[in-house]
Symmetry: C2
Subunit: 212 residues, 2 copies
């Protein structure tokens, strides 16, 4: 249950602290995207989501500079297809942010800030779909789930209690990437089909928190 | 200065704890490598380094199962070329452990365990070569060095005080990978040429610890 922040004005207003933190982050997030590799060609700056970069006048995004916040890019319009986690720094070409060579399509058509509170992140992973079977609580970064005692290379379902995580297909934060946020789907990811429109396997072998 | 573990026997023996931990890990490390993708074809199990897998009877390594410990694979014989960090879990094909699409050569010809003590990891990164310029101490995982206040996308030199780290060319643990160990080169990496024979740029934008 979130803490309450009491603001005394004429009367008394109550603000949910997570919402407050959320607003701060979304306002702070800034990214510059470029039509060509190595930060060349037409560029645009975004401080909020863009569901279709072609409608903004770019035919594709080929390099990215994240000024602040954490972002997720998508292969297709309207936040569909492969997901690309983007944190503060420079990405001079597609393979700087792509996780998967096996599915190599150089497209980034939409992007949005990642919503995660500044509080500690916490999620529960389940052995089977629909939050069934063995479960483990996660509140740290795990480059290898098997090394921390999760014996199978798959995860059946997940519930994000607070914050945001990135799940990866392979150990060491490699392969397909999936962003999991408590502020979306109520933090419920009951089947691998809900992890992303590009997800074809429940294989997850490393998980880390998104922190600003 | 390392703690001393006192063992009472007929007399008194002193063992440096880091050495002790080191031995434990190297003994514990086990990896199975396969000549074909998806854990098919001829396979070999290693519990210590292999400087040339062709001399062991495999023409290449195309899938890997890390049973325990953390390992680093190399593109060429004798621990040369691109480095591939391998932690406990399953890697069914080359792009599951490769970080770089821009330099796509599907070869893994040698591998060795990563030597890192179970103590906390700590390193200092420097702005310039030969441990000059501004410096920052690192003892955690940083998916974005810029987000933690390191304003440039490069690192000039590094000194690993204890443990082992992986440095990555791009944020979010992507791009070229470089293993940095306190037990090698006395933990000194004074120039990007010393990070690996494949290293062509001082660009480093994310760093994480290797933990068993």
């Amino acid at each position: 249950t979130p803490h309450r922040l009491e603001l005394r004005t004429a009367g008394t207003i109550f603000i949910e602290v997570p919402v407050f933190a959320l607003l701060q982050q979304v306002l702070a997030a800034t990214v510059t995207v470029f039509e060509q590799e190595h930060f060349q060609g037409k560029c645009l700056e975004f401080t909020s989501e863009c569901c279709n970069i072609q409608e903004c006048g770019l035919d594709n995004i080929r390099s990215i500079r994240v000024e602040s916040g954490a972002w997720v890019g998508f292969e297709h319009h309207d936040f569909q297809g492969q997901q690309f986690i983007l944190e503060r720094g420079e990405y001079p070409h597609w393979d700087a942010y792509s996780g998967s060579l096996s599915y190599h399509v150089e497209r980034l058509m939409s992007l949005r800030p990642i919503y995660c509170s500044h509080q500690s992140s916490r999620m529960i992973i389940f052995e089977k779909e629909n939050f069934l079977g063995r479960s483990v609580e996660i509140c740290d970064d795990y480059p290898s789930l098997q090394a921390m005692g999760w014996m199978m290379p798959e995860v059946g379902s997940m519930h994000v209690q607070c914050g945001a995580f990135v799940c990866y297909q392979y150990p060491g934060y490699r392969g397909q990437q999936y962003i999991m946020e408590c502020e979306r789907h109520s933090g419920d990811y009951q089947h691998c089909r809900t992890w992303g429109s590009h997800c074809q396997t429940p294989q997850i072998q490393s998980i880390r928190r998104i922190q600003h």
